[in-house]
């Protein structure tokens, strides 16, 4: 029963809680028991909140006793990446120097999740200051991948990915500015959604890159992801970048067939992954054709151009975001972050403005290249397994961080919605992922294709041996 609860979908949990077949306290206690047993192996939490979580769960049960039901997240345990503000709970951004940073108020994301009735189990470990995808935090230690503790779950939302894959929580909130939701989703065999820029509020989220930061849900199924987005999406007066567009019903149309949908594929862009990743990717295109979708080859702007503007934009935005941090805790930044901050602080404003002009050009070129398709697809991450430390050679050449974010970073720069779902396993049992990328604010189409693909495969039903 406890394993059933741990790996239940949010929809199933909601049914069981609403039907009083299980109490919110039982569900929360299961999450806490699994955390106590498994987190010493995974190191996925920076802070666990057993007393507060049980108290919240009791309150949720009391509301049910009074006939009050908040919706599908009533009594559902969750975790939050530790750079998203939680009132009264320390929020470190992965830095030990911020152990005493206790926000006075919740971030918008946390406010909405609390209003929906979720129970906060704890704050997830992450790459320090959301930098990189190594899953290795110098202050709080390496986060371990549940599929093999010798490898990284990816980052920067690595703790979130490990927790969802290990059945510690059915939902964790991560963030993505270069791939930080989708990369750990791929490496942990779960679902991760980077929404459209402006769809989910950034208020109360530690800023890394102002124009590329995206908070988003990480779950074990696409359906759970739609439920989470329903709670999180929408305009927030506290974040001027949030869109005023109406929030659609994300569950509506999710199960509609993809027959006749057009799916774009750029073979050159997709070609830089490990053979196991590419093999799974091309098998996925066969599955999509079997489902009735048309897979159409096209050419998007070269990655090198995204990287050129991305380097300038990220360097300059980080220099601004981290200026106070540097003044107050400059010893806390690693050598690369320090070099980036200093370089970013003297890059001429004309370079930054030109880079944003060129971003507009790339957005239009990408829109033109994909105008005849409903979604674009790409692998989520070029590697089937992410070692701690140095990368291995890929296709006989040295692999770099810029290679690691090849499939994800352009969609942060363009602010487009992208969802990663499991697309297979390597021969030695590591999950790999595929992304479905839609037009701005068209999460419904990305999630519809992802759902149909997910349901046609069995990858999302596998569990790591460590946690079974």
């Amino acid at each position: 029963m406890k394993n059933d609860l741990a790996f239940s979908s949010i929809a199933d949990l909601a049914g069981a809680i609403r039907g009083r077949r299980v109490s919110c306290v039982e569900v929360t206690q299961t999450a806490l028991d699994r955390t106590e047993k498994l987190d010493p192996l995974l190191n996925s939490y920076i802070t666990v909140l057993p007393e507060a979580a049980l108290s919240q769960a009791r309150q949720m049960d009391a509301e049910l006793d009074r006939g009050q039901y908040r919706g599908p997240f009533h009594g559902v345990p969750i975790s939050i990446k530790d750079h998203i503000d939680t009132a009264g709970v320390r929020t470190t951004a992965g830095a030990r120097s911020r152990m005493n940073n206790i926000p006075a108020k919740d971030s918008c994301v946390v406010r909405r999740l609390k209003r929906a009735g979720t129970v906060l189990i704890g704050k997830a470990n992450m790459n320090k200051f959301a930098e990189g995808e190594s899953g290795d935090n110098p202050d709080f230690g390496k986060i371990r991948n549940p599929w093999s503790r010798e490898f990284s779950p990816g980052g920067s939302s690595g703790g979130s990915g490990a927790q969802v894959a290990a059945g510690l929580v059915p939902l964790s909130i991560g963030s993505d500015n270069g791939g930080s939701i989708r990369i750990p989703a791929a490496l942990c065999g779960i679902v991760g959604l980077k929404p459209t820029y402006g769809r989910i509020s950034l208020e109360g989220v530690f800023p890394r890159l102002y124009s590329c930061d995206h908070p988003g849900p990480m779950t074990r199924s696409v359906e759970d992801c739609t439920l989470a987005l329903q709670v999180l999406a929408g305009h927030d007066a506290g974040d001027t970048t949030t869109a005023r567009k109406p929030v659609p019903d994300y569950s509506k149309g999710l199960r509609t067939s993809v027959r006749g949908l057009r799916i774009g594929l750029d073979r050159e862009y997709a070609s830089r992954g490990e053979p196991e990743v590419l093999s799974a990717f091309y098998k996925a295109t066969d599955t999509l054709r079997t489902l009735g979708a048309d897979v159409i080859e096209l050419t998007i702007p070269p990655y090198a151009e995204f990287l050129a503007i991305g380097n300038t934009i990220t360097e300059c935005e980080w220099a601004v975001a981290a200026a106070d941090l540097y003044r107050e805790h400059h010893g806390d930044l690693n050598v690369d972050d320090t070099a980036d901050l200093k370089a970013g602080s003297i890059i001429p404003a004309v370079d930054y403005i030109r880079a944003t002009q060129y971003r507009s050009i790339l957005q239009r070129e990408y829109a033109r290249a994909t105008r005849d398709v409903d979604v674009f697809i790409a692998p989520s991450y070029p590697l089937a397994r992410r070692p701690f430390g140095e990368y291995r050679l890929v296709q006989g050449r040295k692999f770099t961080f810029e290679d690691a974010i090849r499939y994800t970073f352009p969609f942060d720069l363009m602010g487009l919605p992208a969802i990663s779902v499991p697309s297979g396993f390597s021969d030695d049992g590591f999950p790999v992922g595929i992304q479905f990328i839609a037009r701005a604010f068209d999460e419904p189409t990305a999630m519809r294709v992802a759902y149909n693909y997910e349901q046609a495969t069995e990858w999302h039903t596998r569990r790591p041996a460590l946690v079974a």
């Binding site: 050129a308 220099a319 003297i346």
Partner: protein
């Protein structure tokens, strides 16, 4: 160092900062020396540059500049908008 000397030094290094006739310079800064970099950082950002950090900062600065010519009529996005017309 006086600001005028800094401007002259920046011009010599090829940095296209927005200072009157020097704007057009704007070419990559291969010749930027460690001492010039230290001075620029101190003047423009108010931070020091320990000798051990200099190679990484210089490399990051060189790599991350964007000097490509862009059609000046393209409107920069002061407020990033993910929605565009093809």
């Amino acid at each position: 160092m006086k600001r005028r000397d800094l401007v002259i030094s920046l011009a010599a290094s090829g940095l296209g900062i927005a200072v009157g006739p020097l704007v057009a310079a704007g070419r990559p800064n291969e010749e930027l020396s460690e001492e010039q970099l230290r001075m620029i950082l101190r003047e423009l950002a108010g931070v020091d540059l320990p000798a051990a950090e200099a190679p990484k900062v210089l490399a990051a600065f060189t790599l991350n500049r964007f000097t490509t010519k862009v059609d000046p009529t393209v409107q920069p996005q002061a407020d990033f908008d993910p929605e565009v017309e093809p």
